[in-house]
Amino acid sequence: MSTSSYLIRRVLQAVAVIVIVTIVVFGLLHALPGGPARGILGPQATAQQIAHFNHEQGLDKPLPVQYFYYLGQLLHGDLGTSYTLNEPVSQLITERLPKTLVLTMLSALVGLVLAIPMGMWQAVRRNKPVDYVITTLSFIAYSTPVYFLGLILVLVFSQGLAWFPSQAPQGETLGQVISEPQALVLPVVAGAASMVAVFSRYMRAATLENLSEDYVRTARAGGSRARAILWRHVFRNSLTPVVAMLGYYVPVLFGGALVVEQLFNYPGMGLLFWTAAQSSDYPVLLGCVLVIAVATVVGTLLADIVQRIIDPRVKAGRA
């Protein structure tokens, strides 16, 4: 299949996925017992106020009508208006998303940059002390809940050693956020920890697998040094599972961001999502889920494309 027709097909499929996601999410949301009114208006609200709210938000209309209305708005780029914050959801998201992106991108970058060499190093040193140490550390990192890790980081590096502030940058704009790099350290570390653990494990497994392939012997016979073999050959061949993981990792990153944002007082998208979920703010919830869904679908799409690039056999359907 040629690349362009593959791309077209794949993008169309991605769009279909997003439509399915909206249907599922919309349906699930409205399957919730009681509706959002109580959650929004609080325990002291009267029945009239609830009815009024439901009418105002169109929640008394049949579900399909609501859905198509929502979809119609969506096509015009309108994500609705927050029940609790009054602002248009799209505006809330454009305000918050960049902050979260800074966090997640940095975490992902730091995570990968550490994890990949670490995994390879472990594979090369399989069953040697380094391997054991890193394995153990990985699993501690992975099995430590982010909130626990964050707490420890704050305790040690903020309260104890006072190296880094306990709060992420509090600036509103992206520029302000970036201008306080030392305040980003702890949140990024907390966000990257489990990523390092996961990816180093996958990388280690894949590298081990590849190290026993015959082509490694050929390269050795050609006088390539171990390190060169590792980076020129084994590295690329081991990337397949890692790349397959990357696409799916988008929602995980967002999930992590949620906790990190809470811990470090950094109101980004994760927090917006969490708050909306807690307060039954359906439009914001839908908006956030949609953004995450699109990001994930784009992520998986990119992962598939990257896989085609690094492994020509996939493209030839021969793999």
Binding site: G34, T84, E87, N265
Partner: protein, 576 residues
Amino acid sequence: SGGGTSSSSGSASSDTINYALPANFTPNWILPVGTASHLNTNNSSISQAVWEPLIAYDGSTGKVGWNKDNSLATDAKFAADSKSVTVTLGDRHWSDGKQITSRDVEFWFALVKANKEDWASFSPGKAPDNWTSFKTIDDTHFTITFDKAYNQEWMLANELSMIRPMPQHVWDKTSDPGAVSDLDRTAAGAKKVWTYLNNAAKKISGYATDPLWKTVSGPYTIKSFSTAGKVELTANAKYDGGGKANIKNVNLLPFTTADAEANALRAGTVDYGYINATDLSQESSFKARGYSVKPWTGWAITYMPYNFNNPAMGSVFKQLYARQAIQMSVDQTTLSKVVFNGTAVPTYGPVPQGQDSSFVSPEQKTNPYPFDTAKAKKLLTDHGWTEQGGTMVCTSPGTGDNQCGAGVDKGTTFEMQVLSQSGSTVTDNMMSALQSSFAKTGIKFSIKTAPVNSVLSQSGQCTADESGCTWQLSFFGTAGSWYFPAYPSGDSLFATGGGSNFGSYSNAEVDKLITETTTSSSNEAVRKYSAALAKDLPVIWLPEPDYQISVVKNGLGGFAQDSLANFHPAMWKWTK
């Protein structure tokens, strides 16, 4: 770091203070009138700092009462028949220099009258329904007439205190460029003005810049207001009332979690913050950092409603002896001391007991049903229940004295389920403790948890045949504690058909007492009501936790923590 860059200077000499807003709360409303979704004490605290109330009836001075320093009115005279009140306005001015007159009060009155359905504080039969007319006498005097005689304190504390004079000469219009006129004087016009103002108030980004919000009467004006939750107030230089701001700049900081806030406290970037009850043992460490820890008690009650219409347990709940047995299995003293670390107050009836007040009846105060599981058990066995495998089973149905009672079938097991707020360790601990003590009585208590808004949605009023009537007990957590206005009448909570009477409690006797609390001229009515409900147990009474455990920088003073859960920044003062 963060909020600290501008404010780590939170020291006594500074003209700035950093106040921590409650965790995960984003201020989103300043207009003095608004819809229910914006009902939140923190919003109203900000709003009241900018537009002073007519009658500030609060606990800002340490005792709940009318704080005239912070009110636009200087006097309110009730007619002898208690059917009307005449209010006198002080000689006060809007920040643009115009005098504050009866017209500004009338403007508020007209808008609320015409838009009562949308108004957050509306409940049928109450204000503004029971205010039949507004009559201007002159620029500083006006009279409001009621539909019948009311208890004056109640009227003052619970209804008139809601009035918020608004700058009619700036706001009485329907569009930004529109001309100001007397639009509010027709119902249609008032509706349009309401809509216009509400829409304008939805633009949080405009709070600091929109000229509409520049005309204020309170000690502060908005300097900045972000959708992420940070609010900066700055003193209103033109303020001419008694509650002048002591600290020029007030920063209200949003926090994602209490832990994040506590970290900021430890880092010294917050001057006035709070900690979790579980961190109370940390008091000394905060002291060492130059703070003092001050619990902030609230004028509220916490309870767990019974669903009297639940098909399975409703008929059991309807038995007074059963409710008594349940209440006797609740060890409020120990719960307050252990689970809440001493930051809760046992409460045995419908009137808050955190503060001394003349409203509490002796019956409620002394707890008619002290903790005693043996006695509770006996109560049940005396009424036809037999313990089988640790759980009580009705073995002798019927309506006789020693039988289970009307509607309780033979073989009914005493097994109830609470739908409780999830995500709070304290709540979880309390539920476990309750489960344990209920078990001792022979009551099986199972705990189902859900996010608080889901608990709220699932525990509405219902009739036995409705599918949504499966909940038996529900607990909204401490966030669902019921905060009263100054006068603790239980109108919507326990009156038959009351708006927030979730469990459909109904007792004609009590209904009568509740009506009396608002109409009779003495507080005795409230005490009777307190006594009756302390005995009749419409809900399971639980300890009332403090509003928050405040942590205040040394040197910050001049204020008392308002038990009505509002904060009053103008009173804050650096004392050294």
